[in-house]
């Protein structure tokens, strides 16, 4: 249930605990909140058990701690999420690569109409 935070997510081990300040979750940029939300939603949808995510995050963290990868918490989170989404066949590395490049090139920009956002037919 989206309105009932899962304590396995909200209170992970100290090494991989969600960044908080005075109790509040801290997102330093909007994408961090999106990445957080996607990971939680995929877990709720049954794509992976949370244990798989937290273990992935722990190994990303360990790898970063070994040096060489000075990434922030949500960079490691995103890396974990991406790997899991690919491993579970939700996306392919290729399409992700292509779409990211398109966004980087600004191909999908200026979607910001004033009216309601177009929703692709379901």
């Amino acid at each position: 249930m989206p309105d009932e935070p899962d304590s396995r997510i909200a209170h992970m081990d100290e090494a991989i605990a969600l960044p908080r300040k005075n109790g509040e979750l801290v997102f330093e940029a909007p994408w961090e909140a999106r990445a957080f939300g996607i990971a939680v939603v995929l877990n709720e949808a049954g794509v992976y058990p949370w244990r798989d995510f937290s273990q992935g995050l722990a190994s990303e963290t360990a790898a970063a701690d070994q040096g060489g990868r000075p990434t922030g918490y949500y960079e490691r989170w995103l890396e974990t999420l991406t790997k899991l989404a690919i491993a579970r066949g939700m996306v392919t590395p290729e399409e992700l690569e292509v779409r990211t490049a398109e966004y980087a090139a600004g191909l999908h920009d200026e979607h910001a109409h004033h009216g309601p956002h177009e929703t692709p037919g379901v």
Partner: protein
């Protein structure tokens, strides 16, 4: 996914991580696997994680269980933990009981220390300099501005939170709630009442004695 690290880390409007997140979300949405609304809802829920409800449960329990109330006032941290709230590394929680002669109100004059394990996110006014400075000097006036009229005969005690001690108010149980269950009582308790800027109100349908 491989080799897609931050080699081209440009300080443009969007970081590489932001772009990759956007791409991932868009693809998952297009495939019908997730919806942006659900992501929004999840983020909101976690941002409001450990909301005031935890504190409300503590208060309602204290109202219906005199022994629990005693433990709560004697050792707030332990009594709150009994209900499964709070985290071991948190600051001590001290619970202050409102009575017919004493009204307690909580502030953090230095910053915004707050018993988040029981009350969730502090409201924005709690962090405002105006509240932090004025509630100490003129609590009765400030409370009146919140809509809370504290009779002159009632002593107002202002408690300054800090990094070691977080205060929470145990509001008075309103008259007319004698028949209510613990769950119903929980629903009455507001965040503001546990900060001490409001009293707990009885909904009209219950009626006052």
């Amino acid at each position: 996914m491989s080799g897609n690290h931050h080699d081209s880390h440009h300080p443009g409007p969007e970081s590489s991580a932001a772009l990759r997140t956007k791409a991932l979300e868009a693809l998952l949405v297009e495939k019908g696997l997730i919806s942006t609304d659900v992501i929004d809802a999840v983020v909101r829920a976690y941002e409001q994680d450990i909301g005031p409800l935890n504190g409300a449960r503590v208060v309602a329990r204290a109202w219906v269980d005199a022994a629990y109330k005693q433990r709560l006032l004697a050792d707030g941290t332990a009594a709150v933990a009994e209900l499964g709230f709070g985290a071991p590394q948190d600051a001590e929680i001290v619970v202050l009981e409102n009575t017919p002669t004493v009204h307690n109100v909580v502030v953090c004059t230095l910053c915004s220390c707050y018993p988040w394990a029981v009350l969730g996110l502090p409201p924005s006014w709690y962090k405002d300099y105006a509240y932090r400075s004025r509630v100490v000097r003129e609590p009765r006036t400030v409370l009146r501005e919140f809509g809370l009229e504290v009779p002159e005969a009632v002593e107002i005690r202002v408690w300054d939170s800090n990094s070691d001690v977080r205060y929470m108010v145990l509001p008075e149980r309103p008259a007319g709630t004698e028949q209510m269950s613990e769950a119903e009582l929980t629903a009455l308790v507001t965040r503001d009442a546990m900060i001490g800027v409001a009293n707990v109100q009885v909904p009209v349908r219950v009626g006052r004695g």
